[in-house]
């Protein structure tokens, strides 16, 4: 059955959509009351964020837009040292979308939220003209476990830990769009368990960032600039799967600039690097973590290449589009 404009009218069909899809899957006391707003209890300081998701295709190897929408907000909260607690979900659905599509997205969102330990406590649905597209906004609240974690707190001598392979989400989406058959799956995942492990291990984390759009190069440039220091990374330490490496080689893409949806960096004091690495590697989504570089005095980001050359790593300018030859 396809969604038409009547599902956004606020009448019977809207109620059916909410009851039969969203309440069925998101099912929790706060949401089930269907009040105008969720009333929540939190302890101490909160982290609060929002993000919108417009990816096409809606379904791809390794996930779908719903999984992304939950992970994206969970990860943003986690990077501030917060335990994600509550999410809201707003859906803008283009008419013509199959009801089954929405149900599958909601089902995945519920599973991912359960895994991340968050509840979806409020939501909204709108139907607009179009041709089967779905857009989702999620916002979230987390309780801050450890304050003082900031992109501006990197210090010379710190070690940089990357939680796993680069470029997989970008390569999976691009493969789908280009009709290239391979086994590359999006890395989309909630990262709060990695953060929990780091903080439980008493690591004095200075900075955390999830490595999303713009890739590792962009995150490291932001860290260097905001912390007024320089970053050196080592090409040989960067984890990239052979499949993604091959894919990048063919299309002229650089894993350093590719989007990820389940990777983060943690910048920690040099003398805690090994302990922090173990904490990350002991997490479900951090098994392939590596110490990839160090923070130095100065400015900018440089990479020691495999052959011991030195390469400047700048921000990504414009879109990272595949080259034509």
């Amino acid at each position: 059955m396809k969604i038409d404009m009547s599902y956004g009218s606020g009448g019977k069909q809207t109620g059916d959509l909410i009851n039969q899809v969203f309440l069925k899957h998101f099912n929790n006391k706060t949401l089930n009351r269907l009040e105008d707003a969720a009333v929540l209890s939190v302890e101490g300081k909160i982290a609060y964020t929002t993000d919108s998701f417009v990816v096409t295709p809606l379904f791809f190897r390794g996930g779908n837009i719903g999984k992304l929408a939950v992970c994206g907000t969970v990860n943003d909260l986690s990077m501030m040292g917060a335990v994600p607690k509550y999410l809201t979900a707003g859906f803008i659905i283009e008419e013509g979308t199959e009801l089954e599509t929405i149900e599958e997205i909601a089902r995945t969102m519920a599973l991912t939220a359960k895994e991340a330990g968050v509840r979806i406590v409020a939501g909204d649905t709108k139907v607009v003209d179009g041709n089967g597209g779905v857009f989702i906004n999620t916002s979230g609240i987390g309780e801050v476990m450890k304050g003082g974690i900031s992109i501006s707190h990197c210090k010379p001598g710190d070690a940089i830990i990357l939680s796993g392979n680069l470029g997989e989400h970008h390569a999976a989406i691009l493969s789908h769009r280009m009709g290239i058959e391979n086994q590359i799956a999006s890395d989309c995942a909630p990262l709060n368990s990695i953060v929990q492990n780091l903080l439980d291990s008493q690591i004095r984390v200075h900075c955390m960032r999830d490595v999303t759009r713009g890739g590792l190069a962009t995150v490291l440039n932001e860290a260097a600039e905001q912390s007024a220091c320089s970053v050196e990374i080592w090409e040989e330490a960067l984890p990239v799967s052979p499949e993604v490496k091959g894919f990048c080689g063919i299309l002229g893409l650089d894993p350093l600039y590719m989007a990820n949806e389940g990777k983060m960096i943690a910048v920690v004091p040099g003398n805690q690097a090994e302990k922090a690495l173990k904490a990350v590697q002991n997490s479900k989504y951090g098994t392939n973590a590596r110490i990839i570089g160090t923070v130095l005095e100065g400015n900018g980001v440089r990479m020691k290449t495999r052959l011991n050359g030195l390469r400047t790593i700048d921000l990504l300018y414009g879109e990272g589009l595949p080259r034509i030859c």
Partner: protein, 346 residues
């Protein structure tokens, strides 16, 4: 010989300054990515050549694409690199914002699917490139013929490298050697450089794209220069054959013929175009009517960059007013353009 020994020898070179032109944008990119310049003597200067097809495409060509995109029920299909290149009045990005229909493709063959699925729309595919991409365009025409696709045409701007190298050798006497392009050579073959090497007495060394490949090729060039040799050396033999890819070349001669072409920043280079043959005119969206000579933006030194006379950092506009987000010259627009690569990496 170990790679460290190669690096040590290139690093300690203290003879007369040497200028080596890398023709291919992918080589330029790899030189930065591997930090090659930091591994060799400053007396060995690596300069970029005309190896970015987007950079040398005329603004008249872009104009034709933007005009087409603005017509009702018309749509331009293009690679992403072309979106930001300015025509005489606008780029494809600007045409799209003004209501034009432009779709970015990741593979030329996607154009065929697009045309089959939307028969009421007239498509024009921006078929830009060198010998490397041209065989795919030939395959497209073959399939269009077989499947009787009539709502798709190709506007080609396919250029050939050897005539451009000949043009540069004739005029730029202070370039000592050439790092020949890897991808193009797969199609054209190592033999295609022999006449040039002989005539202009310069080494032409074909290299792959890994850091080691480039270092080994530079080492080979330095050895040739030291001993006064000027040979074509194929150091990418896993992919490049002496005669090239004969099947692809047969496909090219079936569908394309040579013609003179305008290279943005250089001018007309004889016999440097591949255009659809007369008998395939039905697939041609006007490739034969080429743009004439045109002036470069004021102050822009892309001409000097393409011809190896100066590097991008030596242009007064570089990083001051000309940036990837606000490109003045064509070499700044593409991710394969010399200025764009220098900006991103230096």
């Amino acid at each position: 010989m170990k790679i460290q020994e190669v690096i040590d020898e290139l690093k300690s070179y203290d003879g007369k300054p040497v200028k080596i032109m890398e023709v291919c944008g992918t080589h330029t990119s790899s030189i930065f990515k591997n930090g090659i310049r930091s591994m060799i003597s400053p007396k060995i200067k690596l300069i970029s050549g005309p190896g970015c097809p987007v950079c040398v495409t005329s603004s008249a060509y872009i104009d034709r694409l933007t005009e087409f995109s603005l017509k009702e029920d018309h749509c331009v299909l293009t690679f992403g690199d072309m979106m930001k290149v300015k025509g005489s009045s606008m780029s494809l990005t600007e045409a799209k914002a003004a209501g034009g229909k432009v779709k970015i493709l990741y593979s030329p063959l996607m154009a065929l699917t697009e045309a089959r699925e939307h028969k009421n729309i007239q498509y024009l595919f921006a078929a830009v490139g060198f010998e490397t991409t041209a065989p795919i365009y030939a395959l497209m025409m073959e399939e269009m013929k077989q499947k009787n696709i009539t709502n798709l045409k190709l506007l080609t701007s396919v250029k050939t490298i050897v005539p451009a190298l000949s043009y540069i050798c004739e005029r730029e006497k202070n370039i000592d050697a050439f790092l020949s392009p890897g991808h193009v050579s797969v199609i054209t073959g190592a033999d295609s450089y022999r006449e040039l090497a002989e005539k202009y007495r310069k080494p032409f060394v074909i290299a792959g794209f890994e850091g080691e490949h480039i270092l080994a090729a530079v080492y080979e060039i330095m050895r040739q220069l030291k001993t006064g040799r000027y040979e074509v050396k194929n150091m990418y033999a896993t992919a490049v054959k002496e005669k090239g890819n004969e099947k692809a070349r047969a496909l090219l001669s079936e569908y394309f013929e040579q013609g003179d072409d305008f290279w943005r920043g250089i001018g007309i280079i004889e016999n440097s175009a591949l255009r659809p043959k007369k008998e395939y005119e039905i697939f041609d969206g006007g490739s034969r009517i080429e743009g004439m000579n045109e002036e470069m933006p004021k102050g822009c030194k892309c001409t000097d960059v393409i011809l190896g006379r100066r590097n991008p950092a030596e242009c007064p506009l570089f990083k001051t007013v000309c940036t990837p987000l606000h490109a003045i010259g064509p070499c700044m627009v593409s991710s394969e353009g010399a200025c764009g690569i220098w900006y991103q990496n230096s």
